[in-house]
Amino acid sequence: MTAPAIAQPATARRKEGFTPFETFVFTLVVALLAIAIVGPLFAPGSVYNSDIANSLMPPSAANWFGTDDQGRDVFWRLIVGAQTTLLSAFLVVTLYSLIGVTIATVAAAGPRWLDEGLMRLTDIGLALPGMIVALGFAAAMGASLRSAVIAMAITGWPITARMLRGIMRQTMEQPFVAGAQVLGVSKWRLMTKHVLPNSLDVLIVKWAGDIGTTVLVLASLSFIGVGAQPPSAEWGATIAAARGYVSTAWWTVVAPGAAVAITSIAFGLLGDIIQVRRDPSLRGN
């Protein structure tokens, strides 16, 4: 007689591997990154030189997405713009994450008055409309892509700081932290080598989604006129420049907007997928 097979638990563990949808999103994100990194190398000639004789031509075999008012190829400007846009977004998120991590660490480790002060500062940051304050900073520093990136970096950190400080406080309650303390580890080493690495995974989840929203805000700032300036191929600036041609040459506006939308949706979905994978109880929500 063979032993009865051990019953599978009613809720079988999720199979390892990716669903088709997840594979699709990953592929999309990797493709976007690849386009941004190597795409501009293949651009035929300059995407900044105008060729007025060829202006506002509809999509064709020679110009896949048509040409803009300067006769420049819309498709290749998008590819070059992908690099500008994604690189700036990565820079913004990295910079404000660094600021947020620093503030959270100092608040979690520091004396009570410092914690209180930094958290009130965070409250102020959270209560203000981020895009408007960023707009002010970018306009004050002189409208340029560089100003917009700096402006978004100095206004983007509060959510990160607030979240991370809370998690670090929780981590500090863990027995291994007490253990390290007993062993006489210095406060600085305790925070940077023990508490911070064990609190960071939430930030990594947030990171992908943040890229998506940052691409949107960056394009908005450029559209308003405080970000990238013509003839930059950055997507928001491209839309702003093509604004007047919607009715005569829709492709000049539709293409860069679709690029912003696809990128921000792809990174947003990536964030959602990572989050659900870490916490499967969220599935279906």
């Binding site: 707009l135 002010g136 394009a219 696809i262």
Partner: protein
């Protein structure tokens, strides 16, 4: 007595936070002014001011004093309502902004109505039929809308609905000859007050697309939040009890599940009301509407630095005050928030 003390404690704390935020905002704006490249007096006086005019501005703004004195006098001017002077309109920025604020508030109000009117029913149906066709399509729509740049959506819809299909006016706030005497500054309200119903519907016709674009940005958040909250509530035991009792689906949803899921939606729509005022800058200008967003957009285009920074100060202040009002309203409306905010202090 206890309740009174709890209320005043809450109000005091909340007011304190608002004042702190406004002070923080003012300091940021001062920092922005100091970050401006070039001579501040020159910027404030305009590009074609004479040397004497620039000196007069320098004198008036006290720019020869130490920075700390400049900061204090800047705060003093803000308290007196002086946000600087526009070099384009040559008017105080505050006066310019007050003129166009009602128009923005009108847009935000109608956008908020559309936002809730679409997102709440959609969220209910999606959660009730989780995994169904409606749920799937509306979730995909929400993800897509959430990723689209608002100004781009505005441009595309303006072209399709305004130029191609001609169902809505392309731009502006009122048709020719439809304007009523300006009382409030908000075209729909002015038309109503003048008893001009044709003008009222005309103004509504002009505002519906801009408001819908603004609402689309925010409706996706309300939809997601309500759907998630409802899914949680629908799984709970008391819903099973209501169902076992034999209540109809409608009764169960509207009387039991919904009231217990609306809390996060209320909180979110409160913050959204403030955020919408900021996002108006992306929408108003596409539709050639008046408003603080369009004013700011034009100020950027004309390199009118003090008008831009004055607008930042103004919009930030309006957002803070709207958030304060929403928090107080919420406290009055929702007994659970009242308990959560006041309870800890009244024990």
């Amino acid at each position: 007595m206890l309740a009174f003390r709890a209320y005043s404690w809450f109000l005091g704390r909340r007011l304190g936070l608002t004042l702190l935020t406004l002070w923080g905002l003012a300091s940021l704006v001062f920092l922005m002014i100091k970050l401006m490249p070039g001579d501040e007096a020159q910027m404030a006086a305009g590009a074609d001011a004479s040397a004497a005019q620039i000196e007069a501005v320098r004198e008036r703004l006290g720019l020869d004093a130490p920075v700390i004195m400049q900061y204090l006098s800047f705060l003093g001017r803000l308290l007196r309502g002086d946000l600087g002077t526009s070099i384009v309109t040559l008017q105080p920025v505050l006066a310019d902004l007050e003129k166009v604020l009602p128009s923005t508030l009108e847009l935000v109000f109608i956008a908020m109505l559309l936002n809730l009117a679409v997102a709440i029913p959609a969220g209910i149906v999606a959660a009730y039929r989780q995994g169904g066709i409606f749920d799937t399509t509306s979730r995909i729509t929400a993800v897509m809308l959430g990723g689209m740049p608002a100004f781009w959506l505005a441009l595309v819809l303006q072209y399709v609905l305004g130029s191609v299909w001609r169902v809505v006016p392309i731009s502006g706030q009122q048709g020719y000859g439809m304007n009523s005497p300006v009382v409030s500054g908000a075209p729909t309200l002015d038309a109503l007050m003048a008893g001009n119903f044709a003008g009222f519907f005309d103004a509504l016709h002009h505002i519906v697309l801009p408001a819908a674009v603004l609402a689309a940005l925010f409706a996706t958040q309300i939809f997601r939040t309500l759907r998630a909250a409802l899914l949680g509530v629908l799984r709970s035991d008391f819903i099973m009890a209501v169902r076992a009792k034999g209540a109809t689906a409608r009764h169960m949803l509207v009387r039991h599940a919904l009231p217990n899921s609306l809390n996060p939606v209320l909180t979110l729509s409160g913050t959204q009301a403030g955020a919408m005022i900021g996002s108006a800058v992306l929408v108003e200008t596409v539709f050639a509407r008046q408003g603080i967003g369009a004013y700011m957009f034009n100020a950027v285009a004309q390199k009118d630095a003090f008008a831009v920074l004055g607008s930042v100060m103004f919009i930030g202040t309006v957002v803070c005050l709207v958030n304060l009002i929403v928090d107080i309203l919420q406290l009055l409306v929702d007994p659970r928030i009242r308990a959560a905010q006041l309870g800890s202090q009244s024990q």
